[in-house]
C-alpha cells in the first residue's frame, strides 16, 4: 500500500538505478548464451550457442558458434566481422540495429542511465530481484526495423533478451551466469 502512494516514476527510477548498479562492471565480462531464432522465412527455428563479452570502456564481442557462425567485434564506431575465416571492417553507422544493441549493452554494463533513456522508451516491471525491461527505440527508422526489445534478469544478472524485428523475425537469447575473467 505504501508503494502505491509513492509516484510511479520515482519507484521506477529507484528500481532502474538499482538494476543498473547491479549490472555495472568495470572489469572484462563474458556471458555465454543460447539463441533461438524464429523466422517466417525459414522452415524450422534455428538454435545456436555463443558468447557475449564486454571489455571496458567500450569494446563488445559477440561470437556465435556453428555452421553460420560469426564473430562481431565492436570497438568505438568500428565494427569487425569475421565469418568463414575472412574478416572485414564495417562502419557501425551502416548497421543501426546492431549499433543500438551495442549501445544498449554498453549502457547497461557501465551504469549509463542517461544514454539508455535517450535511446529507448523504457517500461519497467517487477522489482530489483526479478525484473523485465521493455525497450522501444526512440529513433523512428530504427523502431521500424526493431519494434521492441525485452530484457529480463534477476538481481545483478541478465537472464534473457528477446528481440522482435519487423517481418516477424524474432531472436531469443538466454544468458548463463556471467563469468569474470580475472
Amino acid at each position: 500500500m505504501i508503494a502505491l502512494l509513492v509516484p510511479a516514476d520515482a519507484t521506477a527510477g529507484d528500481t532502474l538505478d538499482r538494476i543498473l548498479a547491479g549490472l555495472a562492471t568495470d572489469r572484462d565480462a563474458t556471458l555465454a548464451f543460447e539463441e533461438r531464432r524464429d523466422d517466417p522465412m525459414l522452415e524450422f527455428p534455428e538454435t545456436r550457442s555463443g558468447s557475449l563479452s564486454f571489455e571496458p570502456p567500450d569494446t563488445l564481442i559477440r561470437q556465435v558458434d556453428g555452421p553460420r557462425g560469426e564473430k562481431v567485434h565492436i570497438e568505438g564506431d568500428t565494427l569487425t566481422l569475421e565469418r568463414r575465416g575472412s574478416s572485414r571492417e564495417i562502419d557501425l553507422s551502416e548497421q543501426p540495429a546492431l549499433a543500438t544493441l551495442a549501445g544498449l549493452f554498453r549502457a547497461l554494463l557501465t551504469d549509463d542511465r542517461e544514454t539508455l533513456e535517450g535511446d529507448f522508451e523504457i517500461d519497467l516491471s517487477g522489482d530489483a530481484d526479478a525484473w523485465t525491461l521493455e525497450l522501444v527505440p526512440r529513433d523512428r527508422a530504427l523502431r521500424r526495423m526493431v519494434p521492441e526489445l525485452t530484457l529480463s534478469g534477476t538481481d545483478g544478472e541478465l537472464r534473457e533478451l528477446v528481440t522482435i524485428e519487423s517481418g516477424g523475425h524474432q531472436s531469443r537469447m538466454r544468458f548463463e551466469p556471467s563469468q569474470y575473467a580475472d
Binding site: 522465412m41 559477440r62 565469418r83 553507422s93 535517450g118 523512428r140 527508422a141 526495423m145
Partner: protein
C-alpha cells in the same frame, strides 16, 4: 531681360525636378541583386551558365555547431520537423531517410527499372543461388548485408544498388552514429534545404534564411549555433553589405564634405548651395536611367552618386571665384567661368557617353547616370545657382578662402616639371615591362562576399559531397529522352577517359533516371513468374527457406514487367527528383531540354574540350564542354577590352572636342598631356602596389579622366592677372580636396569594388592635380616676375 532669363531657367529647372521626382515615384524600382550588375555568362547555345541560377541556386547548406553529437542530432531533427511543411521549403534533409516517405516506396516499386545491375544474366539460376546463400547468412547474422525486412521482396538487393547510385550523384555525406549527416570531423550536423522560390528572388531567399534562423532560435539550444551557406546566402549577404556600405559612405562623405566646405569658405551658405547642382543631377539622372532601363541598379546609383563628385567641382569653382573683394557680380562670374566648366563637363559627358553604350548593363547604367548628372549639374551651376544666392551674399561676396597653399604651387619650380616628366617616363617603363599585366579576370573577385562565407560554402559542399560545378558537359536536345540517350551514349568514352586519367569521375542524369529505351531493355530482361519460381526453387535447395518465402519477390518482378516507363515529370517530390533536377532541365525558353554531365577531377581541360568537339552525339542533340570559371573569365576579358577601347576612343574624342572648342592646339596639348600623365602615374602606382586591376579600376580611370580634364581646363585658362590666377589655383585646389575627402572614405570600404575605385581615384586626383598644375602656361610666371 536678365531677370526674365533667370526666371525661365528657374521655371525649367523646377519642372525638370518635378518630372524626375514624379518618374521615380511612379516607376522607380531599385534593383539590388548583383546579377543585374555583373553579367551572366551564357553558352554558345544560349544556355545560362551561372551556377547560382537554376535548381542549384535554391540550395541552402546548413551546419549545426557546438554542444555534443546527440544535442546536434536532436536539433537537426527538430529543424527538419519544423521546416519541412513550410510552403517556401521544397524539401529539407538531414540524412535520415524518412521510412514513411512515399518517395522511398516509389523507389522500391521501380527498382527494376532504375537499378544499373538489371540484365538477363542477373536472374540466371547461378546468380540467384549466390544471392539466396547471402540472404540465408543475413537471416542468421547480427550484421545482415541487406536489412532482414527486405529479404522476401528483394533478395537480389536491388534497393541498396538504386540508393547507392542515387547517393553517388546527390552527395556523399557521412552519416554519423545518430543517423544524420555530419562533417568528416564529426563536429557539425549537416542539412540541405531546398527553397521553393527561385534562387535569385532575393527577398524570398532573405525571408527563408531569416525564418530558418528564427526557427532554430526557437529550439532554445543556447550551446548550439546554426550556420547557413549557399549561393542565396552570398547573394543576400552581399546585398545587405552593399546597402550598409552605401549608407555609411554616403553619410560619412556628406558630413566630411560639409565640414571641409565650412572650413574653407567660412560661411554656411556654400555648403547647401554646393549640394543643389549635385542633388539636381542625381535626381534627374536617376529618373533618366529608370526611364531608359526600366529600373535603376543599386550599384549604378551608388557609383553614380560617387562619380558625380565631379559635379561638385562646378559650384566650388563658382564659390572660390566669388570671394571678397569680388571682381564681378555672381551671375557675371558664372558667365565668365562657363566656357571652362562647359569644356570640362562636355569632355566628361563625351567619355561617359561611350561607356553608356556598352552591353554591360551595369556599366551602361552608370555611364548614362553620370553623363546626365554631370550635364545637369553644369547647367544648374551656370543658370540656377547664381539666382539662389541670398541677396546679401550676392552683393558682398564670400569671405576670403581659408586655404593655405604652398607658394611653390602658383610658381612651380622648373625642376618640378622635369621631375614630373621623369616620373611619367618611369611610369611608362613600369607599365610596359610588367609581364603579365596584373589584370583581375575573376568575376567573383568583384563580388562583396566575405572570404569566410565562401570558405564555409566550400567546406559544407565538400562535406556533403555535393559536386564542384566548375567542369561539365552540356547536352542539348528537344526531348528529355533524346538528351538522356545522348548522355548514356557517352558512358563508354567517358569510362575510357577515366582509364586514361583525363577524368576522375562523373555524374549524369541517366544514372538517376535512365532513358526510356534503357528502362525498356531492363524490363524485357526480367523473367516471367513461372521461370523465376522454377529458378528460385532450384537455387534455394538445402538453404532451409520455407516454400513461398520469396513470393513477394516474384510478385514485384511481375509487377515491374507490366509497369509503365518513367518520365522526368512522373517522379514524385523526394530524393529521386532532387537528384535529377540539377542534372536534367527543360530550357527556360521552352525550346527543349538540357542534360548536364558533371565532371570531377578534370586534369586536362583542353583534351576534354577537344574530345567533346570530336564526338558526335547524333539524333538532334549537341554536346559542349563547359568550364564555368573560364566562361566567366572570358566574359570579363571581353568587357575589359571593350572598356579599354572606350577609354582610348574617349580620349581621342575629347582631343577633337578640345581642339574644336578652344581653337588652340597648344592649350589642347597641355590639357591632354596632363590627363595622360595623371592616368599613367596612377596605373603605374597601382601596379607597383601589387594591385590586381579589375573592371572597376578601369571605371575609376574613366572618372579620373573626367576630373583631370576639369583641372587641366582650369589650370590652362589664359589669365593675365596674378590675383585671378591665384583664385583659379585655389578654386581647383578646393575641388581636388573635396574629391580626395569623398574617395578617401570610399577607399576604406570593405567592398572590393568600392575600395578599388576609392584608392584609384585618390591616386588619380593627386597625380592629375600636380600634372595639371605643372603644365599650366608659364605666361603668368613671367608676368609676375
Amino acid at each position: 531681360m536678365h531677370g526674365l532669363t533667370s526666371r525661365i531657367a528657374l521655371g525649367l529647372w523646377l519642372i525638370a525636378l518635378l518630372l524626375a521626382a514624379l518618374t521615380l515615384t511612379l516607376r522607380g524600382e531599385l534593383v539590388t541583386d548583383l546579377q543585374g550588375f555583373a553579367p551572366d555568362p551564357i553558352s554558345e547555345g544560349g544556355v545560362p551558365l551561372d551556377p547560382g541560377a537554376g535548381p542549384a541556386g535554391r540550395i541552402l547548406l546548413l551546419a549545426i555547431e557546438g554542444g555534443d553529437a546527440r544535442a546536434r542530432a536532436n536539433a537537426s531533427d527538430a529543424l527538419v520537423a519544423a521546416l519541412e511543411d513550410q510552403t517556401d521549403v521544397a524539401g529539407i534533409h538531414n540524412g535520415r531517410l524518412n521510412p514513411d516517405d512515399p518517395a522511398l516506396d516509389f523507389l522500391l516499386e521501380h527498382r527494376y527499372l532504375l537499378s544499373p545491375r538489371v540484365n538477363a544474366e542477373h536472374f540466371e539460376e547461378a546468380r540467384l543461388a549466390e544471392h539466396l546463400e547471402a540472404r540465408r547468412d543475413d537471416l542468421s547474422s547480427s550484421v545482415p548485408e541487406l536489412p532482414r525486412e527486405l529479404i522476401p521482396r528483394d533478395p537480389t538487393a536491388e534497393i541498396p544498388a538504386v540508393l547507392e547510385q542515387l547517393a553517388a550523384g546527390g552527395g556523399r555525406a557521412t552519416t554519423g552514429p545518430q543517423g544524420i549527416w555530419i562533417d568528416p570531423d564529426r563536429e557539425r550536423a549537416l542539412l540541405v534545404l531546398r527553397g521553393g522560390a527561385d534562387g535569385m528572388d532575393l527577398d524570398a531567399q532573405a525571408t527563408l534564411i531569416e525564418r530558418t534562423q528564427a526557427t532554430f532560435a526557437e529550439l532554445d539550444t543556447p550551446d548550439l549555433h546554426l550556420r547557413i551557406a549557399g549561393p542565396a546566402v552570398m547573394a543576400v549577404e552581399s546585398r545587405a553589405t552593399i546597402r550598409g556600405e552605401v549608407t555609411w559612405i554616403t553619410a560619412g562623405a556628406s558630413l566630411a564634405l560639409a565640414a571641409l566646405l565650412l572650413a574653407v569658405f567660412r560661411h554656411p551658405h556654400p555648403v547647401w548651395l554646393a549640394a543643389v547642382p549635385l542633388a539636381s543631377g542625381i535626381l534627374v539622372a536617376a529618373a533618366t536611367v529608370t526611364l531608359v532601363f526600366g529600373h535603376l541598379h543599386g550599384i549604378a546609383l551608388a557609383f553614380g552618386i560617387t562619380v558625380l563628385g565631379i559635379a561638385l567641382d562646378y559650384p566650388l569653382h563658382l564659390f572660390a571665384h566669388a570671394q571678397r573683394p569680388r571682381s564681378a557680380s555672381i551671375p557675371d562670374i558664372a558667365r565668365e567661368l562657363w566656357p571652362a566648366i562647359a569644356l570640362g563637363a562636355g569632355s566628361t559627358v563625351l567619355v561617359y557617353a561611350l561607356m553608356a553604350m556598352t552591353g554591360f548593363s551595369g556599366m551602361a547604367q552608370l555611364g548614362l547616370f553620370v553623363l546626365t548628372g554631370v550635364a545637369v549639374a553644369a547647367l544648374v551651376t551656370r543658370w540656377i545657382l547664381p539666382t539662389l544666392f541670398p541677396a546679401r551674399l550676392r552683393n558682398e561676396g564670400l569671405p576670403p578662402l581659408r586655404l593655405p597653399l604652398p607658394s611653390g604651387l602658383a610658381h612651380p619650380p622648373v625642376w618640378a616639371r622635369w621631375g614630373m616628366a621623369g616620373l611619367t617616363l618611369a611610369a611608362v617603363v613600369v607599365i610596359v615591362t610588367t609581364e603579365p599585366f596584373p589584370w583581375e579576370d575573376r568575376l567573383s573577385a568583384l563580388h562583396p562576399v566575405p572570404d569566410d562565407q565562401v570558405a564555409l560554402d566550400q567546406e559544407l559542399r565538400e562535406a556533403l559531397g555535393l559536386p564542384d560545378v566548375r567542369h561539365a558537359l552540356l547536352i542539348t536536345g528537344e526531348t528529355p529522352e533524346q538528351v538522356l540517350q545522348a548522355s548514356e551514349a557517352l558512358e563508354i568514352s567517358l569510362a575510357a577517359l577515366q582509364t586514361a586519367g583525363t577524368l576522375g569521375d562523373y555524374d549524369h542524369a541517366a544514372d538517376v533516371l535512365p532513358s526510356q529505351a534503357r528502362q525498356k531493355e531492363r524490363q524485357v530482361a526480367l523473367p516471367t513468374p513461372d521461370t523465376l519460381r522454377e529458378r528460385l526453387g532450384a537455387a534455394s535447395t538445402g538453404l532451409g527457406f520455407r516454400d513461398g518465402a520469396f513470393d513477394p519477390f516474384v510478385a514485384d518482378i511481375e509487377n515491374a514487367r507490366q509497369q509503365s516507363l518513367l518520365t522526368p515529370e512522373a517522379l514524385p517530390e523526394g530524393p529521386l527528383r532532387n537528384a535529377l533536377e540539377p542534372l536534367l532541365q527543360a530550357r527556360e525558353d521552352g525550346t527543349g531540354w538540357i542534360a548536364w554531365v558533371r565532371l570531377q577531377g578534370v586534369h586536362d581541360p583542353d583534351a576534354l574540350a577537344q574530345w567533346a568537339d570530336d564526338i558526335s552525339t547524333g539524333n538532334d542533340t549537341a554536346l559542349q564542354y563547359i568550364d564555368f570559371f573560364r566562361a566567366s573569365e572570358e566574359l570579363v576579358i571581353g568587357f575589359r577590352n571593350e572598356a579599354l577601347e572606350r577609354l582610348a576612343l574617349g580620349i581621342l574624342a575629347v582631343a577633337l572636342l578640345l581642339l574644336a572648342v578652344t581653337g588652340a592646339p597648344g592649350r589642347s596639348l597641355r590639357i591632354l598631356t596632363a590627363v595622360g600623365t595623371g592616368l599613367l602615374l596612377t596605373v603605374a602606382t597601382l601596379v607597383l602596389m601589387g594591385v590586381q586591376l579589375s573592371l572597376f579600376h578601369l571605371i575609376a580611370l574613366l572618372l579620373i579622366t573626367g576630373l583631370c580634364l576639369d583641372y587641366a581646363v582650369f589650370f590652362s585658362r589664359p589669365l593675365r592677372e596674378a590675383a585671378a590666377r591665384l583664385r583659379n589655383l585655389r578654386s581647383v585646389s578646393v575641388c581636388a580636396l573635396s574629391t580626395l575627402v569623398v574617395f578617401g572614405l570610399l577607399s576604406l570600404s570593405s567592398l572590393p569594388v568600392l575600395q578599388a575605385m576609392g584608392l584609384t581615384v585618390v591616386l588619380g586626383v593627386v597625380f592629375s592635380f600636380f600634372a595639371a598644375a605643372l603644365l599650366a602656361p608659364e605666361t603668368g610666371q613671367q608676368a609676375a616676375a
